[in-house]
């Protein structure tokens, strides 16, 4: 993987403007493709609207790619759009759905290829959790199989909303490092090194 991947704790297009600016500047990006897949059943149009406002604030062109179900993810045309992008935003808060839609599809392969080709992939909220393998089921904190774009760590997004009990339960089950990332924080991997932005907590040794 030679590209950059950013896992944001939450608040896509709302809570991460400074970081987004820095990431986009570093990547030289003037346009992004956003996939609101993980919110397919939770009014993805809200994320599209937020992304357009964000694009105006940051002077970035936004293309919303409505990959909401597996039929969309199996579409070669959608995969071509992803493959042709230099910056992707995967947003929405249902990691299980994102995993279900993307697993073993041309669109997901395009994401992998695009990152390998030096692109920038930003995932926020539950979508960030789904990038990892294992991923964390946000409902109860159990681990399950994720998409595996990131391995060797699990990502708890929106950790400020987690009860101490749930977090303890998750940490007790973990046999790998767990990163707890509140909204407004992030982990960024570039050149095989991780950087944390804000008060992320890393349980275990990366």
């Amino acid at each position: 993987m030679t590209g950059t991947i950013a896992l944001q704790g939450g608040g896509p297009f709302v809570a991460n403007d400074d970081l987004d600016r820095q990431l986009l500047d570093a990547a030289g990006a003037r346009k992004i493709v956003m996939l609101p897949t993980a919110d397919a059943f939770e009014h993805p149009e809200h994320l599209v609207a937020a992304s357009l406002q964000w694009g105006e604030r940051l002077d970035i062109e936004v293309e919303a790619l409505m990959v909401l179900g597996r039929t969309d993810a199996l579409d070669e045309g959608a995969a071509a759009v992803v493959r042709g992008a230099s910056t992707l935003y995967l947003v929405g808060d249902q990691p299980l759905h994102l995993r279900s839609v993307m697993k073993d599809t041309p669109v997901w392969q395009a994401v992998v290829d695009m990152l390998a080709g030096g692109g920038l992939v930003v995932a926020a909220g539950g979508s960030a959790s789904a990038m990892c393998d294992p991923m964390v089921d946000p409902r109860g904190g159990a681990f399950t199989l994720g998409l595996g774009l990131v391995t060797g760590l699990a990502f708890v997004n929106g950790s400020e909303t987690w009860s101490v009990e749930r977090l303890h339960r998750t940490l007790a089950m973990a046999d790998i490092p767990v990163v707890c990332s509140p909204t407004g924080t992030a982990m960024v991997r570039h050149d095989n090194a991780w950087t944390h932005i804000g008060n992320t907590e890393i349980h275990g040794t990366l």
Partner: protein, 302 residues
Amino acid sequence: VGTTKRERQKANRQQRLEQLAKTARKEKTKRRSLQIGLIVVGGLIALFVAGYLYNKSDDETVLPADSVATTLDPTATTIDPLAPTTSAAPTTTVDPNAPTTTAAPTTTIAEAFTYGSGACPEADGSSEPPDTYEAPEQCIDASKTYTAQVVTNKGEFTITLDPARSPGNVNNFVTLARYGYYDGTQCHRIIKEFVVQCGRLGDDDAAPGYSVADELPSDGEYTEGMVVIANTGTADSGGAQFFIITGENGVSLPPSYSIIGQVTKGYNTTVAALENLADPLAESGTPPLVEVDITSITITES
């Protein structure tokens, strides 16, 4: 099951729903009082914290007592623009190609399941439902064949259960069905090409009051028409609710749900009709366009 028993079950169900509503009302009142209290306490805490922070410039991270958290050194990164926003500590380089450690579930063998102590109902469905449900003892013979005839207000379908694969979860489903637990519950969540989820009592996601251990498949075992046990996203948290996988989006779910069987009759008719009741505007598929009630689930053993 005789008419009198059905009426008694209906009355019991009504009583349970009223009790749930009453509890919910009490909880709401309690929460409101608590919120007022919290606002007052929160104000005092805010004053205290503001005073504290005034004298302290460093960030501080609060961790659970038994955990150790570390942060990474922003200066180690080669992305210079990011450096100013980071905060503190040592650095680590990670090999992204390192082997993954996953919590990959494996199929559980029958002997591993720990049953409860709740009494078994009569196989003919004549037993009165208990006042409080408990995780059942072993009530089925995993070498036998069990089918469940599910009657809804929108048609019927048949599930052929798979006790060899998930003896504990099938045992639980059969036990609840024989007690008439599912009669009057709803299929409250329907999403096209994904799931039809049933077995919820009113709005109560915690029912039946206990949970059942997972008997998880391997990745890639889900197929259309399979019936699996819903859970709360933590280990061993299945209960009464189940869902039917109705399309590709369900087939590729991670293997976090115990499989109890397969719809073998009525999939292309009743289940398809139920799927068409999905409300595309409903949040996470709840509720469907019209109410879907389970009238009864009858278990046949052979």
